[in-house]
Symmetry: C2
């Protein structure tokens, strides 16, 4: 959703971020200058929009640093871009690395007037905002997709976002949304359990009902209807979270964001040097074809972004894999590891 609002984007700074050069930015844990100026941040430090921006900037920095420690070759390309209508983003991408075939961590902090089409889309999912009028909005979020090279390391995606709109009556509305999900190419029960258990722990701290609800929502959301399979083995997904209160929601979203590294990094370390052959690579590429299909055909944020004139397409489509494959009538051998994964994708299971 956020990504969609980056209309008329222009890139104003690009640099490469290597492990060795991290010291250069040691004064800051951020990957680039925040979109909101230091002066404005200081002035409004108690506002949620500022607190959330600081949180996602820190999380982006931590993730980029942690992922880079796993990479033997490669560096983050950091693009800081702004949009004419207000705000911008910081898109960090590693491409063609030894460990990460393609990985992106993007932050966006945008504001301006929300177009009526976006209001309509929000109301379609029950938001009940006044239609036909442009409303001032603020949105910030972090979005990440990691496509590792080794087929034994799953693809991971997460996104956490905060939204504010102001109705013409002057009433302000806010909500959080997001989620985190895993797409393995080969099933490793231990990885699946680690991922889901870490998320459940974060959820349980806030509401004992969250995990079951958001896990089911995730399975439903990341479903490739035309193939009758899930994109992956799920995780959590939620939207329009505005209760019990803004502090509670923010605390929950922070715990979710902070769960990314413990839920995923261990499986990179464990699997990144495992041996694999041509057949495993081909299977991974075909599953990446399904991933691209999902993102281009169903994903709300991607679709809405593509239809928004002037959006920063490269930031929206950074989620697509570096390589993908479509083989006509491919069917995994019965009893194979590929067939076993397909079975799970057709029948989402309980992981905790």
């Amino acid at each position: 959703m956020l990504r969609t609002l980056a209309a008329g984007a222009s890139v104003c700074s690009i640099y490469m971020f290597k492990a060795g050069s991290y010291q250069l930015r040691a004064e800051s844990q951020y990957m680039a200058e925040p979109l909101t100026s230091a002066a404005d941040m200081a002035k409004s430090s108690t506002l949620m929009r500022v607190r959330m921006e600081k949180f996602i900037m820190s999380l982006q920095g931590e993730l980029c640093k942690a992922f880079l420690e796993e990479e033997e070759k490669g560096e983050w390309r950091v693009d800081r871009w702004t949009r004419e209508e207000g705000g911008g983003g910081i898109t960090c991408v590693i491409q063609d690395g030894h460990v990460f075939e393609k990985a992106g961590v993007g932050v966006s902090v945008v504001h301006g007037m929300i177009p009526p089409a976006a209001v309509k889309q929000m109301n379609a999912r029950g938001k009940n905002l006044p239609e036909g009028e442009e409303m001032p909005f603020f949105a910030c979020g972090i979005s990440c997709v990691v496509h590792p090279r080794n087929p034994h390391v799953p693809t991971m995606h997460f996104n956490y976002r905060y939204f504010e709109v102001e109705e013409s009556s002057g009433q302000k509305r806010w909500w959080f949304g997001g989620g985190s999900d895993l797409t393995p190419y080969y099933l490793d029960e231990e990885d699946g359990k680690l991922f889901h258990t870490t998320l459940k722990t974060a959820c349980d701290k806030h509401d004992k009902g969250y995990y079951a609800k958001f896990k089911a929502w995730c399975d439903e959301y990341f479903f490739i209807k035309h193939r009758n399979i899930s994109r992956g083995i799920g995780g959590i997904f939620f939207d329009d979270l505005d209760s019990p209160g803004i502090e509670e929601c923010f605390a929950f979203v922070q715990d979710c964001g902070n769960s990314v590294i413990p839920s995923y990094l261990p499986m990179i370390r464990k699997n990144k040097n495992k041996g694999y052959g041509y057949a495993e690579r081909q299977w991974q590429l075909m599953r990446r074809g399904h991933y691209a299909e999902y993102n281009l055909v169903y994903d709300r944020g991607t679709k809405f972004g593509l239809y928004t004139p002037g959006a920063r397409i490269e930031s929206i489509l950074m989620s697509l894999p570096l390589n993908a494959k479509w083989e006509y009538m491919h069917t995994p051998e019965p009893g194979s590891k590929e067939a076993k994964l397909t079975e799970i994708l057709k029948n989402p299971k309980d992981w905790v």
Copy 2:
């Protein structure tokens, strides 16, 4: 569109078609048993639905034979499938050949009740059919996408179809649609001219205004809005053709279909053994990424098919390339051949 109606499809015959085995079917120019039985065909031989089915079956046979003569390794996989609701199709695919990385020629001949959603989509483009009721329909068509391995051979796509519906008043409506378009990876002016000139000759025989109108329609239709580039260098595209009369329309569509081989085969022969390197292959793969984007995000037939429960997904998605690539922020070197092609994709030119 046609492809979308293949709900509840099941494959009832599969075989491989090699050059050497062509004699086996010498009694017929067809790739498989037609969907309509020989008895029904003989009984209704003057009906347009039967004449069109015979034409597309012959064209499929001719194309498969002609393409196979260019292939050094590979064979057509022929899948004859039927749908519960009536009719079926014959999907022929070569995959991972020396010349054709992936090529598909599909025929479908389907009938049954047209779902209200499809009527709505047709009315959105001005068909003015009665809404909210299921109508009996018949549709048949041929669809083909060729993704050659050598980046100096363009990708080619065409589709020609015939549609009949019967309103509850008893009134019958019919129309033809289709088109043919070319997607080069490197610009060869001679190839572009051959393709467009051959199509213009076919058009001019029937209406001096057709080529200009259908060329513009093609440029508009195959446009990747979010990238602000065309999918390729166009060709012709038309829909809802129902004048001046059914005989004239059929004659025109036959001439279009018969133009495929002369408009495309020479560039396969000329370019299939040209040398190319890693950089050319990478560029081809990235452009194939754009091709996949177009088909998944915009193409009417593909989209509608994907949203139709039970459609034969493998026949719908045979148009996707075997391999595709998405490189973050790829920009061709100024002045390079890749930049030259991109320029043409941004500003469609006149070819004749």
